[in-house]
Symmetry: C2
Subunit: 220 residues, 2 copies
């Protein structure tokens, strides 16, 4: 048996990024297993996906906990029980507290639909359209206490087109998200991610695949 990377995911919504990771695992592009998916929303589409793919999906009702810290203590307990090594935030709409951060230091990933540090927080695509940028994109980063401010692992750029709406721009960015999030997990599973303060680098592959994405959308 290979030593599979054990992933725990936190979700709140439809879970299309979770699906991209599930797909990469099922296609054997990513040697990992999602040992638990926890949702703070009962009706999250992401929970349907876990059921469909035979994964361990749990709805954890925040209403049963006194505050966010107590809630996260239970998350940490469930992650421990499922031997989670890395945490993936996949459309999780709650603020992360120190409970989770201290349990998984530099081991929590998030994906954000902008080229950070531009357009942090909610509705990044709408912010980008309102600002009038011509290029935006998405970012996978390590989670730290600040809002969307952790070390950047990978970014992908997409153009903003003349007649874009929030919907069309979101769809264009999502396609890139579904490429880069599994890519980062591949780097982690093959021990290629090197974190040195804010500088994250990717070590050379011992078995180059030829179609690896490092800087999608970035052209010299």
């Amino acid at each position: 048996m290979p030593d599979l990377l054990r992933i725990g995911a936190l979700v709140s919504g439809n879970g299309t990024n979770l699906q991209a990771i599930i797909d990469a695992i099922e296609k054997k592009e990513l040697e990992a297993e999602i040992t638990v998916v926890i949702s703070n929303k009962k009706t999250a589409g992401a929970l349907e996906r876990t059921k469909k793919h035979g994964l361990n999906g749990i709805y954890l009702d925040p209403g049963n906990y006194e505050n966010n810290r107590e809630y996260e203590k239970e998350i940490v307990r469930l992650f421990g029980k499922n031997r989670v090594q890395w945490v993936v935030l996949a459309g999780y709409l709650k603020i992360i507290t120190d409970e989770l951060l201290s349990a998984y230091p530099d081991r929590i990933l998030n994906i954000h639909p902008s080229l950070l540090p531009a357009f942090t927080g909610l509705h990044a695509q709408e912010q980008a359209l309102k600002y009038g940028v011509k290029i935006t994109g998405c970012t996978v980063h390590l989670v730290e206490a600040g809002l969307d401010s952790g070390p950047v692992i990978i970014q992908a750029a997409v153009p903003v087109l003349e007649n874009d709406t929030v919907e069309t721009l979101t769809e264009r960015i999502s396609k890139k998200e579904h490429q880069i999030y599994p890519q980062v997990l591949k780097w982690i599973s093959t021990r290629r991610l090197k974190i040195d303060g804010r500088r994250v680098s990717i070590l050379p592959s011992s078995s180059p695949s030829g179609n690896e994405i490092i800087n999608p959308g970035g052209i010299v």
Copy 2:
């Protein structure tokens, strides 16, 4: 005689972006003339370039003016005398005041070495390296009172590579700058730039050239 776009430039430094515009004009890719170049630095390399290309270059000593507004009144006077229609900031390191802004509303261009709104102000490339982004770039925008905050006309993305220094990253961004700044002036000279609040759009060309850059570095 065609009705040439009349450009006035403000410079402080080496003027490589000015050079890119001069080159585009000399190659007849851009139907425009630079009627005056004003430098606030006596030894600016940009002034050497104006001399070499037979352009009207002026060193205007800020020390002879009571304040920045008085200095700009003289700039506006010189621009008027040279019938300047659009103002190009090309490495001009002074803050623009309302004197110039009100004389040329929505007619002042700046280029900035980042994908705005990320990394405003000085040393944008160094800021990008310190943050640890994987994609950065450059932006041509209209100048308004805020710092690097005016409506975006075009952006170009470049990757940040593993061993980049401020110098190597600056050079990679500069190459894109030298493409996009003349490109914007071409749109202006052919009356294709449409400004609607913060939304800047490019009208279709009556004579498509086939090699136009609209979203360099942005890939769907």
